[in-house]
Symmetry: C2
Subunit: 393 residues, 2 copies
């Protein structure tokens, strides 16, 4: 078992009435001039932005707005936000949206007080010591960014997608109203749940088999998410299951499912190259690559894959054939992905064959020009990466 | 499903090296003059106090010490601490010990800046707006106070034991080194685990059956604790299972197992009168009263007790006889209590028959002179309380 830190200071206000608290919470956490950061039209159309801004005005909190954050959020938008915040003296960033908007908000928050280029943090050149406070009104459960310390930004210059983790960027509060997710399209809902489950799996597939408490909690989270997604695909206005997905997305990525275990993240890294190159939905990209990753690495710890097959996927344990049981768990996961409309390979993801050159290019980027490995369940070099991409074609 | 708030800002530093961080963390959270609060001799004998104080000195953090906190911590000690902190200008309270020491620290923290009697908060007369920062080096996992917002104090004047909850008292950090719990006696270890499981059960037995995510997580926590206690009773130096018990105690009571459900707490309230009157170990008192509470209330939601029996206690589900399955779950819990050395009734707890007058007196106190009900799974008035105490004789 690994020593660990667990730190989730975000105040979660969850439920149908949660939005009413937004201005009170902004003030509680010191916001006097707020950047309301958002994505596209849905937050406007739904009336949510109007509501949030109305409540801020009522309570005498100044605000300005910056929209236009896109999935796989762009560094250029981050620069725009930093400039705006500096010019207007913003002291609090409120993200109204999903993971992309929150990630963009975190990057802006780190960039405002830093004299250099905010991209330095993502390049690992140095660590931010201070940042503006960030908070969110969550509308798309998936990334878990509403409680996490991490953000992922895409630099359009070269299509480079990098993550940055820093506890000071953990949101001060997260307002979660499951009703706001009723209008999410099926594809986005399913991709979100795929991402949540992957956040759990990245920690679940570990060699630290002795932390049963974390393992059991992780299994509980995965089973519940797998049950709830079918309910909401059938009835998008199913509050119970929308709520479980929303809360499940947070606890899948706030650190709880990783206490005491070494986490892997190779699948995420492999996917970042896919969405960096093809601008696909992150969750769908994960589904396209995970089965191949799993088949490539499962022999590193067969019993862990057997446990996953039996306790999460409901596969009958063939005690005489652990490897067979493990592989059946991976197949069951592929059936699950298909059942919720997710791809299980790159062809299904991008709608055409990927070329060998594209695969080589992704492996080059994922290995940072052949200099870096990824993952720790099995440490992957650029040749392993190429092989997995080939298996996932 | 209930709307909920989830707020666990405590920075948990967990593992064999965790104590090394104590001075750094005190400084991070603003401590310059620290009251090191502790219980009896064990923290001295083990060398832990010396280590903590040595690290504080090394980092130039001033401190003074106040020991002598007893189980079911006393109001008189709280008064002593408040006076000392005021006199010496203490700005941070570091509890080195278990739940009693942390609870006492929280009470002192609220009392120092308050001009009136700190007992006012426990009587519900008003709510504390400010308090000194509290943190802990945990040595006895049980109460979950290291991450919780609550504390329980006994006023010797009348043997009145009351709890007080306030988010501002949540500890800033909690240092948890499972090795420090190797020397805990079996009885105390078992009583601690009983308390943790009860913290989960108080939230698990609910009419909010629709929050499967919370339910599954709660079951995971209970199953793991039940597994780990047998391992440590067999081998007190089993790091893996000591660690799971230590972390299990925190997540059993930090709010996670109650998200979206109405919680009950009647068993805790019934027990507070037992430990108030007989000064018994809290966890043992809970074991003595829970089976009778369960038999008295299970018909309010039989399916919940069936779920508990099957998913937590491993009872085979007799689908033709839900009530029979439910009752088998309660019996299995009694066998578990006995197997870990806990009582299952008051006679076993106090070593003699309790008198009818004593029962009436406990029911009077538990109902605050017949004015208050307890619980919500089934709302209990003083007659219900008397009946449960009689059943638990």
């Amino acid at each position: 078992m690994k020593d660990f830190k667990y730190y989730t200071p975000t105040e979660v206000v969850f439920g149908k009435q949660s939005e009413e608290k937004v201005a009170e919470l902004v003030k509680k956490y010191g916001g006097t001039k707020v950047l309301v950061h958002y994505g596209g039209q849905s937050a406007i159309k739904s009336g949510l932005l109007d509501k949030v801004c109305g409540l801020l005005s009522q309570e005498g909190v100044e605000y300005l707005m910056l929209g236009g954050v896109v999935p796989n959020p762009r560094l250029s938008k981050v620069y725009e936000g930093i400039e705006l915040c500096r010019k207007e003296g913003v002291d609090f960033i409120l993200a109204v949206g999903g993971g992309s908007v929150i990630d963009s908000a975190k990057a802006i928050a780190c960039g405002v007080p830093y004299e250099g280029d905010v991209w330095d943090f993502y390049l690992g050149k140095l660590h931010a010591e201070v940042c503006l406070p960030v908070a969110s009104v969550l509308t798309i459960p998936a990334a878990g960014s509403e409680m996490s310390e991490s953000s992922v930004i895409t630099n359009e210059d070269g299509g480079i997608k990098l993550g940055y983790s820093n506890d000071i960027t953990r949101p001060k509060f997260a307002i979660m109203n499951p009703v706001r997710t009723y209008t999410l399209p099926s594809y986005q809902t399913a991709a979100g749940v795929t991402d949540m489950i992957m956040h759990t799996m990245e920690r679940y597939f570990t060699h630290d088999d002795d932390m049963t408490l974390t393992t059991e909690v992780a299994e509980a989270v995965m089973r519940t998410l797998m049950d709830s997604i079918f309910a909401v695909l059938k009835n998008p206005e199913d509050y119970r299951h929308r709520a479980q997905i929303m809360w499940g997305g947070s606890i899948a990525h706030n650190g709880l499912t990783g206490c005491g275990v070494a986490d892997d993240w190779a699948t995420h890294q492999l996917e970042h190259e896919l969405s960096g190159m093809f601008d696909v939905t992150h969750g769908a990209g994960l589904a396209a690559v995970w089965p191949s990753w799993a088949r490539y690495v499962y022999k590193e710890n067969v019993s862990r894959f057997v446990r996953f097959a039996v306790n999460v996927m409901g596969v009958t344990n063939d005690f005489t054939d652990p490897e067979g049981t493990a592989l059946k768990g991976i197949e069951a996961m592929e059936r699950f992905y298909h059942a919720i409309g997710m791809p299980i390979n790159i062809h299904e993801l991008i709608g055409r064959d990927i070329t060998d050159d594209e695969i080589k290019e992704m492996a080059r980027k994922c290995s940072r020009d052949y200099k870096t490995t990824q993952g720790c369940f099995k440490v992957l070099n650029h040749i392993d990466m190429e092989t997995i991409y080939q298996m996932a074609k």
